[in-house]
Each structure stands twice: as structure tokens, then as C-alpha cells.
């Protein structure tokens, strides 16, 4: 991975003028390392083909075919919309797509680009989406009525997720852009992900256009937001656009600002083809579809291309733009963002961040991305025992469209064959589950999420533990030390909540690193927190204690030594590997109690008495029993109406099917789900 280390150096050497604290930002998720790779590629070798090569409709003889040759880099702008959760990115994207006639107004659903069922149900964006639009614009006050004279610009818009778990999507998107709309809710002001996303864009040297959105709200206070932007990011208040994506107010300034302020893509049209693989997904009909940004050169249908990472060669079967649906163009030119279909068999061949180039040409690979870092791990098992193959298939298919999950087979005595999966965060894990169920019909049981610990033994050996079950309860070798991962957390809260939030953070073993005011009412805090402490319900608690006013973001940081112990759960004296957790010694008692109580609540009485225990090593720290079921009989079987009775019994049977049998105990799936909520 030569380009990574090269990029690392670039990161160190790049100079950040405004905030010294930024240099350590996003050690894992800053996908774009160093300066924007799209700017000036030093060794461009001439490839001979000069630019305006006419593609006389190689594929499409249809009318209305978009001729991308009309769009040299000067007429192209690539930009992302970035913001804190719910500040209106996707809604703004809708408006811009409507404004440019890319989608019809009032047709289609709101948040048009949120296509996944999870996105629609939760009202959040989890996957970045690109759309190409065309917009006529005159630089600097030329006669606006003379449409013939107005040049048409090709604009690529990328809508990004706001939630911290998906900031990897943001980083990747920014790699294809020269600018970003930093959207801020006029009432809420700067929030934690505003800060995080600003730095992602800033470190990528993008032009940032502040957009203060939702000014239609009665509580909107754009001036305050302007002041915050100035104070925190040194963004000039004069540069801020004021919009309402709801009413349409102020929207007319957006695209002109994009065109006038954001530089065109910097690539070299006459250099050999280099394109950055941004994303890939699997389509039932077309196969693997890759999103690409052409950095240098030209790509045409029929071209033979190679991957810098794998050396594999492919033929371009289809190429085009997202307008907003896949639209064939037969060509993609320097600076343009689009899709290619190249006969790849699996998305595994499509390495996000890879450089694609013409077969037999030699190019300097683009810097690419740092791989996504997995923050939490959890076991995924088929809810109905036999279905391992079905789950395997579903996971394989889904990971084709969500490469940020790591998957390894594992087995559990309690749950059988399954998978250990690594996620970017808990929301990511949740979304993954939901997509498995909704898009692939799989039913899963997931085990308590865990963060990766490092254990050191008396013989000096170290192991990384992604599954608590893998840690022996009574180890032969003595554990000499244990390290746990930490994060650097950003918390922004109204100042009246400072007291309880500080208490919460210290309960979670946090260490305060910074405390400052971003304006007269808002406090900005930085904490080092053990990752395990924030993984499950930290944010929820934070939100509920601040009536929803807190915002929270984190980036991963180094490991710290801690006193972590393995907590076993035993059913009728048998440890259930899938329920083991690793907890801080001082919290073991409380967590043990909570787990045992949860289980008692969710496991129904059964034919035998059940004892539930929590133990550290051989020491039992909590215990409950569920007395045996006394009676389950249909005494009235009358008039030969067997059918009705049978239905009842079949219902019972179906109920049982949804249980996981561990030893002789039937455990409902909800019990597993509930365990996830204990921290």
C-alpha cells in the first residue's frame, strides 16, 4: 500500500492555518489523506489521444442522448452536501434536482436520493448518492434573458449521510469533489457533525460554501450561526447563503455560488486515463456497477481497463452518468463523475479507492482511501438454526453493497455457525441488520456488540479479542495487561446542561480534554472516552438528559490500559458463549445484574426451572431463577372442533420456532436483542 504511506506524509506536511487542533483529526476516518488527489497529478504521461474525440453514438442512437463532449472540465463542478444529521442535506438536494429539471417537482418522494428502505423508514441517509445535473449559467452578470448564450454546466452533486457512523461515506464522496455545501440548521447552529464534516472537507482542501438552511423556522437565528461559523471555522459571514429547502427561499443563489466559487476539476484531459473507484454495488440485472471519478483522460465504452490494486483487466460494457438514474453516455471525460459496468463478477473485485486505468498504460496510482475502521464487532447468527446457508448468502449479497462491514465465519456452541462482523458503529450495525432482513429476508440473532480489546499474557504474547467468547474464562496463562480502544469525542451542548453531561462522561470513565464556549449559550467539549462506554447507549442518554439538544461525534484514538474482565452468563449452570461480554471490573457487578434481570424478563417459563447466573471466572455475581411452567393445557376439546385447537398449538409451535434453543432452554430472539441494550 505504497500510496497510503505517501499520503500519510502528505497529510503531515499539509499546512492547516486555522486551528491547531485539527491536525490530529480523523486518524481513521479521514479517507482523503493529504491534499486532494484530484488536484494536479504530477507525472502525467501523454497518451496520444487528443480530447474532443467524437463518439459518434457508439451505443445510443436515441435522441436526447447527452453528449458529454460538450463539457470540458471548465464547465464541470463537483460538490458534496455535508452537514450534521437532519440539517436538511437530502431535502436541499431534492430542491437542486428540481431546479435543474433533473427530477420533476412534486414527483417522486421527498429525499429522492434516499433510496434504501432503511433510509426511508428512518428518515436518514446512510449511503452517499451522486446525481448529475445540468444548469445554464452566465458568469458575472451577462444578459440572463439570452438563454442561447448561456453556457450549460455539468454539476455533480453528492448527498452524504450526517450520522457519525457513516462519515466514511462522506470522506469517500469528498474525494470526487472540489467543493462542499456545508449546511447548517439556522436554529440549531453548529453541531458536532458540522464540526467533523467541516474538517473532513477542509483537510481535503475543498472550497466550502456555508449554507444556513431552514431559515423559515420561527426560531431561526442566521446571524448567530454566522458568528459561530466565523469563530469556529473562520468562514466569512458574507459568504454564507441563507436558504430554506422547505419554502425554496434563497435557493436561486446556490447553484450560481457553486459554479462561481468552486474550482473546476483539475485533471488533465490529454493524460492517460486515471479514475478513482468511489463506490460499487450489485445490481440484479447489470451486475457490478462502479461509481467512478475520471481524474485524467477519457473513458469510452469498449475500452479495456485495469485495476491498479489487483491488476485485473476488464472491458467497459456500459458507461454513463447518474441523472439521477443510470443514463448511458458512452463516454466519461476528465473531471466527470459517473458509473461503469465492466463485467466484474463480484463487488469484491471493486476495491473502493482503487485506481482504474487503461490496459497496458502505466500510471501513478491515485492516493485512494484509508480502509474503514471497524469500531464494534458482533456475532450474527441465523435466527432459525438451519438457515446458515441462507444467512451466508444474504450477507454475501449485502456486503456487495456495503463493503464497510468486515465478515468472518465463527461458531458458537450456543448458536451454531455464524459470522463475526465488524461495523463502523452501532447505527451501522443496526442498519446492516435491517437491510439483511428487509432486502434479503434473513432473520438474525446478534450477540452483544463488543469493541476489540488487546490482552497480554504472562508469556508476553498479545491477542486481539473481537469476540468475548474467545477469551478463556479461566485462562491457563495469566493475563498481565489489557488494553481497550478509546475515542476522542466532541460534544456540543447548551451551557445549562454542562453539569449532568460532565457527570455522565465521568461515569463513562471519560477524561476531559477541552472545554470552550462557541457562543454565549453553547459549550464545546472534547473528551477521551473508552469506546466500549459510548458504543451502546451513550448518545441516547446524552440526548435524553439534554432534551435532545446535545450533539455528539467521535473519532477513534489510541488504546489505553484498563482493568477489563470477562463476564459469563450461565443458563442452568452452562455458560452461554454467545452471551459473554467484556466489562470494566468496577462495572461488572452492575452489568451482570442487569443482564440477568433482562434475561429473566424475556425468557418465558419452561417445563423445567431455569437458573440464570452472571459470573466472572468461577465467581457468581448475580443470579435469578425462572420457576417451571405449571400448566399449559387445552382442557376444552369439544365437539370435535380439532381445527381450532390445532391452530392454537401450531401457533405455539411457531412461537417456539422463533426461539433459539440453548441447552434445554428456549430463548426468544427478543432476549438477545434486549441484551444488546445493556452497557
Amino acid at each position: 500500500m505504497g500510496y497510503l504511506s505517501r499520503a500519510q506524509k502528505a497529510l503531515k506536511s499539509s499546512n492547516f492555518l486555522y486551528f491547531s487542533q485539527t491536525s490530529s483529526k480523523f486518524s481513521w476516518l479521514s479517507a482523503l489523506l493529504g491534499s486532494n488527489p484530484l488536484y494536479g497529478s504530477p507525472n502525467c504521461r501523454h497518451f496520444g489521444l487528443s480530447q474532443p474525440f467524437c463518439s459518434h453514438s457508439r451505443q445510443n442512437s436515441k435522441e436526447n442522448v447527452i453528449d458529454l463532449n460538450q463539457y470540458p472540465p471548465e464547465l464541470i463542478r463537483n460538490f458534496s452536501i455535508i452537514a450534521h444529521v437532519d440539517h436538511g442535506k437530502s431535502t436541499l438536494a431534492d430542491r437542486l434536482l428540481e431546479l435543474t429539471g433533473t427530477i420533476k417537482k412534486g414527483h417522486g418522494q421527498p429525499q429522492y436520493l434516499d433510496k434504501l428502505q432503511v433510509e426511508r423508514e428512518r428518515g436518514i441517509t446512510v449511503k452517499a448518492q451522486t446525481a448529475t445535473m445540468f444548469h445554464k449559467h452566465n458568469f458575472h452578470g451577462a444578459d440572463k434573458n439570452d438563454t442561447h448564450e448561456q453556457p450549460s454546466f455539468l454539476l455533480n452533486l453528492i448527498d452524504t449521510p450526517g450520522h457519525v457512523d457513516f462519515s466514511y461515506e462522506v470522506s469517500r464522496s469528498l474525494a470526487a469533489c472540489q467543493g462542499a455545501l456545508l449546511v447548517v440548521d439556522a436554529a440549531q447552529g453548529v453541531q458536532a457533525q458540522t464540526v467533523a464534516n467541516f474538517y473532513l472537507a477542509f483537510e481535503s482542501n475543498l472550497t466550502i460554501i456555508p449554507v444556513i438552511n431552514k431559515i423559515d423556522q420561527p426560531t431561526a437565528d442566521p446571524d448567530r450561526v454566522k458568528a459561530q461559523l466565523k469563530l469556529m471555522f473562520d468562514l466569512d459571514p458574507k459568504d454564507a447563503l441563507l436558504t430554506s429547502a422547505k419554502t425554496g427561499q434563497g435557493l436561486e443563489q446556490v447553484l450560481p455560488s457553486v459554479i462561481e466559487r468552486i474550482p473546476p476539476p483539475p485533471g488533465n484531459s490529454s493524460s492517460p486515463l486515471r479514475m478513482l473507484l468511489l463506490d460499487s454495488y450489485y445490481d440484479e440485472y447489470k451486475g457490478v456497477i462502479c461509481h467512478v471519478a475520471v481524474v485524467d483522460g477519457v473513458l469510452r465504452k469498449g475500452d479495456k481497463i485495469s485495476s491498479a490494486a489487483t491488476g485485473q483487466t476488464y472491458e467497459i460494457l456500459d458507461v454513463g452518468i447518474m441523472h439521477p438514474e443510470l443514463t448511458s453516455t458512452g463516454i466519461l471525460l476528465t473531471g466527470q463523475v459517473g458509473y461503469v459496468v465492466s463485467g466484474m463478477r463480484s463487488t469484491k473485485e471493486a476495491r473502493v479507492g482503487d485506481t482504474l486505468h487503461h490496459n497496458r498504460s502505466v500510471v501513478e496510482p491515485l492516493p485512494g482511501f484509508k480502509p474503514a475502521k471497524h469500531m464494534v464487532f458482533s456475532g450474527l447468527y441465523p435466527a432459525d438454526g438451519s438457515d446458515f446457508e441462507a444467512l451466508n448468502h444474504a450477507i454475501e449479497r449485502l456486503t456487495c453493497n456495503d463493503a464497510s462491514v468486515s465478515v468472518a465465519k465463527e461458531s458458537s456452541t450456543a448458536l451454531g455457525l455464524g459470522f463475526r462482523c465488524g461495523f463502523l458503529g452501532l447505527l451501522h450495525m443496526d442498519v446492516f441488520h435491517q437491510r439483511l432482513e428487509q432486502e434479503h429476508g434473513a432473520h438474525v440473532i446478534s450477540t452483544i456488540p463488543t469493541v476489540p480489546y488487546i490482552y497480554e499474557y504472562s508469556d508476553g504474547s498479545k491477542v486481539q479479542v473481537q469476540n468475548p467468547a474467545a477469551l478463556p474464562s479461566n485462562p491457563k496463562k495469566r493475563v498481565t495487561a489489557c488494553w481497550e480502544p478509546t475515542v476522542l469525542a466532541t460534544i456540543i451542548i447548551p451551557s445549562e446542561y454542562v453539569g449532568p453531561v460532565i457527570t455522565l462522561c465521568s461515569e463513562r470513565r471519560g477524561q476531559q480534554l477541552e472545554y470552550s464556549f462557541i457562543d454565549s449559550q453553547r459549550v464545546f467539549m472534547k473528551y477521551r472516552l473508552p469506546l466500549r462506554e459510548i458504543v451502546v447507549d451513550f448518545y441516547n442518554e446524552l440526548k435524553s438528559m439534554t432534551s435532545g439538544y446535545a450533539s455528539f461525534d467521535y473519532e477513534d484514538s489510541e488504546y489505553q490500559q484498563s482493568d477489563m474482565v470477562k463476564l459469563d452468563i450461565l443458563l442452568n449452570g452452562q455458560p452461554v458463549d454467545a452471551m459473554a461480554t467484556i466489562v470494566h471490573n468496577l462495572k461488572a457487578q452492575r452489568v451482570g445484574r442487569e443482564l440477568v434481570e433482562k434475561l429473566k424478563k424475556f425468557i418465558d417459563r419452561q417445563m423445567f426451572e431455569i437458573t440464570i447466573q452472571a459470573a466472572i471466572g468461577s465467581k457468581i455475581i448475580a443470579r435469578e431463577t425462572i420457576s417451571a411452567m405449571r400448566k399449559n393445557v387445552l382442557a376444552k376439546c369439544y365437539g370435535g372442533d380439532v381445527t381450532r385447537k390445532k391452530k392454537l398449538l401450531e401457533k405455539q409451535k411457531e412461537g417456539k420456532k422463533r426461539m433459539k434453543r440453548v441447552g434445554s432452554v428456549d430463548i426468544p430472539q427478543e432476549a438477545f436483542h434486549e441484551l444488546l441494550k445493556v452497557s
Binding site: V633, A635, V642
Partner: protein, 527 residues
């Protein structure tokens, strides 16, 4: 013996037709492959047991047990014997015939009929049966048009029912259930019995039961009913405490209960039963003990003890939640069940089915057809029949039931041809029904029909419960196997599979958790 050639049956051709014996491949162990069906109602499929004597004047006995009388077939084929309609020859030859075969009981011809008489004075608070509440004001019950019209409809339904040939075996049991059948004037009951007799034939010694409510009949009525042939009375007492009767919304008090018992006894009904409900709201252990004691004092031949089911849509369903006050707790209610089992057993009653007790020889024959998975007719509002392997429940609303009878008459509903019976469903029925009885599940005939491997998996999943004593496995001599004996047969250490002959649920622990055990079996049969 003469047996008609049966070229019309497709499977006869497929599998070869050896003179008088049809070879039909034995169902494989893959129970989903079993699709027994009757192609045409014109054939009667007979099961015979060699040692049994002819009981009726029409046909051989259609009985599946006791099992030891059965002749076993070579393991690869079960032989079905198919007779055409030649009653005389059957009659002549049946008892002498050594060619016997195993026929699944659901393919017998029905010899039982359930007749639903839905009228009640008012609805009890626990009741969700299809009933028609007449209201207490109507004293002139004898010519209440609602009853008269219904009884006519009922006759029409019986008459419109196929198959209706005189060669059918006559009915051996008739059950008038309700509702409150004792509200119906005997003359109308008589006409129904007559219709049944004409249509299907009625054995001279048929068991004819009727559900009767205290306060709805006197000695005169009782005598009239007996003259019609009613020879078994099921008296709905429910409880011996005035306050509980009231709480149930019963239309009678304790006085009527004692009067009714006296009437039944004095009229000389030799086979009568009493219904009790346990776990009623506010019922205490003392009350339950008292009810049981007073029941035993009256010396009925049969007692049915029903654990209260709180049904949706009933008054109880609205007011109460099972296990919560004023209903007894789950533990207490289990104790009531155990108390009944112990007290009645001590008083000489056999606990022969989950909720039925009787003195020796007084099992309810009619109900046994249900538990043996044998076919039965049913007539009347909301009633459920089981004919030709098909279960069918009639409409529960009077208007719809009326329409159903009309359709039956003009032939637009009726006997389904080519009914496919799902093997799994059938196996589940057999398990569900037989495990209700003290006789339990006959493993060998079950294996015969559904394969050894199914029996094996069933036993395997019951293993922990054999150990805990909820399930009992018996050998051929009906001796219970010890848990380790059971295990060693199961794991083939002991090769003598014949040792496992029956499985039953223990009384009271196994019975009390019968739903668990049955649904477990369902899971094995249809995962």
C-alpha cells in the same frame, strides 16, 4: 370372497392389482410424500380385524384397536383392501377372512354423528360456542319458531349430506351438543333421530348422548328423551357454589342442580356425566374440593373437568386475564387440576383423557372417535365434521349456515373429489388427539403410517421429558420403560425396537403440560 376389479382407481393400475388385493406402496419415511386420498365416494374402504365379531347387521366392525388384534403386514407394503358395494358378500366373508389390512382410521366410514342444538336461555360468561340465546322470557319454548325452523334446517342438512347409501355402516354414536339441547322439545329431537336413522342407519345399541342443563327439563321430558333412545346424559353443573354459578352467568342455581341430578337418577339413566369447570373467578381450593366431593357423592359414571379457558370476546375475556386475580394463579390452577385427578382417581374414576374421568367401561364412545382420529359426521350451526379425511366447520352465523344448507341441497357445495390429505397434517392430528388420552400414541401404527424415522425423532425430542417424567414410554405389555431403558432402545444399544409400543403423557404432570409436548411434536413433524 368376491372383490370387484378396480380399474378406475389410478393408483390401482399404477401399482398393480393382484386379484382382490391392491398393493399400495407403503409411505416412505418422508412424511411429506404421503398423500393418501379417496378418489371416489363410491368405494368403501374397509379395515377388518380378524378376531372381531360382527356387531351390526350391515358391515364389519370399523375399529382400529386394540392394536394387538391387527395382523401386521410385510414391512414394505401395506395392503389396502377395497370392496365394492356388496354388503352380503362382505358380511359373509368378513369374519372368516384372513386377509386383513391396516387402513388409516380416517378412511373408515363415519359411524358417529354430532348434532348441534344451539339454543340457550342466555349466554354464560365464559362461553364462546355458536349459540342462540332465546331469552328467559320465552316460556312457550315448545313451539318457538326459531327452534322449529332450525330443526327443519337441520333435517335438510342431514338429508342433503352425501354419501347416502343404505350400505353405509349404521351410526354407533350420536351426540346432541349445544347450546342446551335439553331446551329442544323431545318431539323435535325425535324427528332428527328419525332422519338420521333413515339416512345412515342407527345401531340398536348406539350411544346417544345429550347435553342437558339443570332447570331445563323435568322427569317427563327426561323419560320422553329416553324413550327416543337417549341413553347418556351430560349434565352441565359447572360448580356446586351458588356464588360461582352466578358469577358464570348460569341460568340456574344450586337447587336446580340437585333437582336435575335427582331427575336423571330417578328416571334410571344408567350412564350420566357431570361437567365441572375449574379455575373459575373467585374459586378457592376449598370450593373446588367441595365441588369434587359433592360430585363423587352423586356417583355419576362419568365426570368431565374443564379448566376454564378465557376466550376472546366473552364477558370473561373482557374482564379477566388468565393467572391474574380474581382468577387463580397458574400454580393454583395447576393444583386444581392435580386435585381433581387425585380425588377422582381415589374415588374409582379412570382419568382416561385430559379432562375426562369415568368408571370402568363408561368412556364416552362418541368422544373417543375424535381422539382416535376417526371420522364423524356433524350437523348444525358451527359444527365440525371429519369425513373422508377432510375436516370442515360449518358457518357459525345462522344466516350463513342457512345458505350453506341450501348450497348443499342444490349441490354447489358437497363432497370434494380428489381431496389431498397432507401427511404431515394427518400425523399432527394423530399425535395431538392421541396424546390427550391415557392410551397414548401407538408408536407402531404411527411408524407404519409415517415412517420409523419420524417416530425416532419424536422419541428423541421427548427424551428429556421421559427423564423428567412428563412422558412415559410403554412396551407392548404396557409396562413403562425406565429412562435409561428408553435411551438404550433409542440409541440402538438395545435392538429390540418393539419395546417401544406407546407413548403417553403422565397424569397429572404430563397432561398439565400437554400443549408443550404436543407443540414439540408438531415441530418434529413439520419443522
Amino acid at each position: 370372497m368376491r372383490v370387484a376389479k378396480l380399474n378406475i382407481l389410478p393408483w390401482a393400475k399404477l401399482n398393480g392389482c393382484h386379484d382382490d388385493v391392491l398393493l399400495y406402496p407403503r409411505p416412505t419415511s418422508r412424511s411429506d410424500n404421503i398423500r393418501p386420498f379417496i378418489r371416489s365416494p363410491n368405494y368403501i374402504l374397509h379395515y377388518q380385524s380378524i378376531n372381531k365379531m360382527l356387531k351390526s347387521t350391515f358391515a364389519p366392525i370399523f375399529s382400529a384397536f386394540p392394536a394387538k388384534h391387527r395382523t401386521r403386514q410385510p414391512s414394505s407394503t401395506a395392503v389396502f383392501r377395497v370392496f365394492a358395494h356388496t354388503p352380503e358378500s362382505v358380511q359373509q366373508n368378513a369374519s372368516a377372512n384372513s386377509h386383513t389390512s391396516i387402513l388409516p382410521p380416517y378412511l373408515f366410514h363415519p359411524t358417529s354423528a354430532y348434532v348441534h342444538l344451539p339454543f340457550c336461555r342466555k349466554r354464560c360468561h365464559y362461553c364462546d360456542f355458536p349459540i342462540v340465546a332465546l331469552g328467559s322470557s320465552s316460556t312457550q319454548i315448545d313451539d318457538d319458531p326459531r327452534i322449529v325452523n332450525y330443526m327443519q334446517l337441520l333435517s335438510r342438512e342431514i338429508n342433503a349430506t352425501r354419501p347416502g347409501t343404505t350400505t353405509n355402516p349404521p351410526l354407533e354414536t350420536v351426540f346432541f351438543g349445544g347450546g342446551t339441547p335439553s331446551l329442544v322439545p323431545p318431539s323435535l329431537v325425535s324427528s332428527i333421530l328419525e332422519t338420521l336413522r333413515l339416512k345412515f342407519g342407527l345401531c340398536l345399541d348406539a350411544e346417544i348422548s345429550m347435553e342437558m342443563d339443570p332447570g331445563t327439563f323435568d322427569a317427563k321430558k327426561m323419560k320422553e328423551l329416553m324413550d327416543l333412545g337417549v341413553n347418556r346424559v351430560s349434565l352441565g353443573v359447572q360448580a356446586f357454589q351458588e356464588e360461582l354459578l352466578k358469577a358464570c352467568g348460569r341460568a340456574h342455581g344450586l337447587k336446580e342442580v340437585y333437582e336435575a341430578i335427582e331427575t336423571v337418577k330417578s328416571c334410571g339413566v344408567e350412564n350420566w356425566s357431570m361437567d365441572l369447570i375449574s379455575s373459575l373467578p373467585h374459586q378457592t381450593p376449598e370450593m373446588w374440593e367441595e365441588s369434587l366431593r359433592l360430585t363423587i357423592e352423586q356417583q355419576p359414571q362419568h365426570v368431565s373437568v374443564y379448566d376454564l379457558q378465557v376466550e376472546q370476546g366473552t364477558k370473561f375475556g373482557v374482564l379477566y386475564t388468565p393467572g391474574e386475580f380474581p382468577l387463580p394463579s397458574e400454580t393454583q390452577s395447576a393444583d386444581f387440576y392435580k386435585m381433581a385427578s387425585r380425588t377422582l382417581s381415589d374415588a374409582g374414576y379412570n382419568h382416561y383423557e385430559i379432562s375426562s374421568y369415568c368408571k370402568s367401561g363408561f368412556e364416552c364412545k362418541h368422544n373417543f372417535t375424535y381422539w382416535k382420529n376417526e371420522p364423524f359426521y356433524a350437523f348444525g350451526l358451527g359444527s365440525a365434521s371429519y369425513v373422508g379425511g377432510l375436516r370442515f366447520t360449518r358457518p357459525k352465523k345462522m344466516r350463513e349456515y342457512m345458505g350453506y344448507v341450501e348450497n348443499l341441497e342444490n349441490g354447489s357445495v358437497g363432497c370434494n373429489e380428489n381431496i389431498h390429505i397432507d401427511g404431515k397434517d394427518m400425523a399432527m392430528d394423530v399425535v395431538m388427539l392421541s396424546l390427550r388420552t391415557a392410551r397414548g400414541l401407538d408408536l407402531r401404527s404411527f411408524a407404519e403410517a409415517y415412517g420409523d424415522s419420524l417416530v425416532h425423532s419424536l422419541c428423541e425430542s421427548y427424551r428429556p421429558y421421559v427423564e423428567s417424567g412428563h412422558v412415559v414410554c410403554l412396551n407392548e405389555q404396557r409396562r413403562a420403560l425406565a429412562a435409561d431403558e428408553f435411551n438404550s432402545v433409542l440409541f440402538k444399544e438395545d435392538k429390540d425396537q418393539a419395546k417401544m409400543a406407546y407413548i403417553w403423557l403422565s397424569d397429572p404432570d404430563g397432561f398439565l403440560l400437554s400443549n408443550e409436548m404436543i407443540s414439540l411434536a408438531f415441530r418434529v413433524i413439520s419443522p
